[in-house]
Symmetry: C2
DNA sequence: CCCCTTCTGCGTATGACATACGCGTTATTG
DNA sequence: CAATAACGCGTATGTCATACGCAGAAGGGG
């Protein structure tokens, strides 16, 4: 060999072409019995990367930086990770962890309670690891924890009577909603961090900017919105989440009803 | 002066601290009457950048590349744009353009038809400019066309009886949904472009990968899903959009009903 | 028991890139 | 007609990801 090694993508289970990052996440690493013992481990590297991201943001995560953190040279990391993207995937996987069991399911509650709990859990993970939202996406990751989350979402919909196809669609819908809303929170938090002011001031500043740009003739609806004073009211950081999720689930409820009726 | 100039952020209208990119988008540029005539123009630069992004993807858009395209040196661009992020904002603004008038509104149709048309229009813009989805977001952009889209969304909800706060929340909800779904399409399309195969093959490959990883015991719901054969069915690229939007709007409908009832 | 294979850590090198700085040049205005 | 600003842009800096190859370590086969 002699290229960028770091396990070039052979599965032990069947010989497909799994992205190396996925194999790494599943721990399908054939311990090579030949060379010297590795001085590092994927876990240590990923943990260090996560620590850097958590304290200084995803942008601070460079191969060099992670290497320094772990006490090794930059290039040695490539013995464990084939590219930075792979590190990203592993970081996300590590930060999220597996989902906690759904209390609603165990209590025998309905799909709505279960899905709500599921969404809240996912949101909590995003808010606890805002940097995850800055990782550029590249298709649905098939990592163990991601799958576990999906599994749990599907289970929440078990008693709904929906068809399998509708179930994933709903899961996708909720999942994307959670992500979008978290990103919004993250953006606000980033703005707060960038300037040194309070969230309220940031929002107020945005409103002032809008007011300056909005022309009552060209933008009557926005103008009305600004005049209504809604921008200054809520203050509850969870409001948009609660509202959006409720609305979304009302839609799902309608779908379930029509399915049950025989659609 | 003598720093990174390119209009450092003074508004002609009131003297606030608008991000330079926003000012640029609104055309609030005080034509300096002093120096030599500019050999370039923001429009030319942005158009060149958009062309590169459209044909080779956002990653191909570097300052150097755009400069070459426009027949100037890299650094000369910084006389027109204060940073690359600004160029991004301008690119998005240019690619999206203003929204077309809503036929549903003019025909006096209800909010649902109007919002559906609005969402479809937005989606069409994303699909026609997939690279836009790769631009890292940083808060809600207050550019002219963005505002125009918001305005139109709010107008679509005019006859709904919703409060102003609920209106933006709904707009946000729909808007984020459209973006998420478009990103999904974009990811698929990227995977198709990366390997040289058909969309069907990509999806089939993903299913095969999943099948390999999913353990019937650990992931009963996903296993059931795979067994149901739903993954291979639809083939309609608009399905997820249509389904998701309908579900979402059902939720909005419930909200409107309860508002009308007096909640 | 030794050597050969295979893997390790890592120094070095390459090639992008964004962008700061300052110089010479060109219009415009007093 | 000079003082003033802007302009185009060459040069330099610093950061990154990552290719390549070497030297040393650890087992396995003869």
């Amino acid at each position: 060999m002699g290229k960028g090694d770091a396990v070039t993508g052979k599965s032990g289970t069947g010989g497909g072409d799994l992205p190396a990052s996925i194999e790494a996440a599943w721990g399908l690493r054939e311990r090579p019995a030949k060379g010297p013992k590795p001085g590092l481990s994927l876990e240590r590297i990923v943990a260090a990367a996560v620590a850097v991201a958590a304290s200084e943001g995803l942008a601070a995560v460079s191969m060099g930086r992670v290497a320094k953190e772990v006490g090794a040279s930059t290039m040695s990391l490539y013995r464990y990770v084939s590219a930075k993207d792979e590190l990203y995937v592993l970081m996300q996987e590590a930060a999220f962890g597996p989902p906690a069991p759904l209390a609603a399911l165990e209590a025998g509650a309905g799909w709505r309670e279960a899905l709500t709990e599921w969404a809240a859990g996912q949101r909590a993970q995003f808010l606890a690891n805002l940097w995850v939202l800055r990782i550029p996406i590249g298709g649905p990751p098939a990592t163990p924890n991601s799958l576990a989350w999906w599994e749990q979402g599907l289970q929440a919909l078990e008693g709904s009577g929906l068809g399998e196809g509708d179930k994933i669609s709903v899961i996708l819908l909720v999942s994307n909603f959670v992500r979008s809303e978290a990103l919004l929170v993250s953006d606000l938090s980033a703005a707060v961090a960038a300037r040194g002011v309070s969230p309220e001031e940031v929002v107020a500043g945005q409103e002032r900017t809008l007011r300056r740009l909005v022309d009552p003739v060209r933008h009557p609806a926005i103008h009305r919105l600004l005049d209504s004073g809604v921008m200054s009211e809520p203050d509850d950081p969870d409001y948009e989440f609660t509202f959006g999720l409720a609305t979304l689930l009302d839609g799902v409820e309608a779908l379930i009803r029509s399915t049950a009726a025989g659609g």
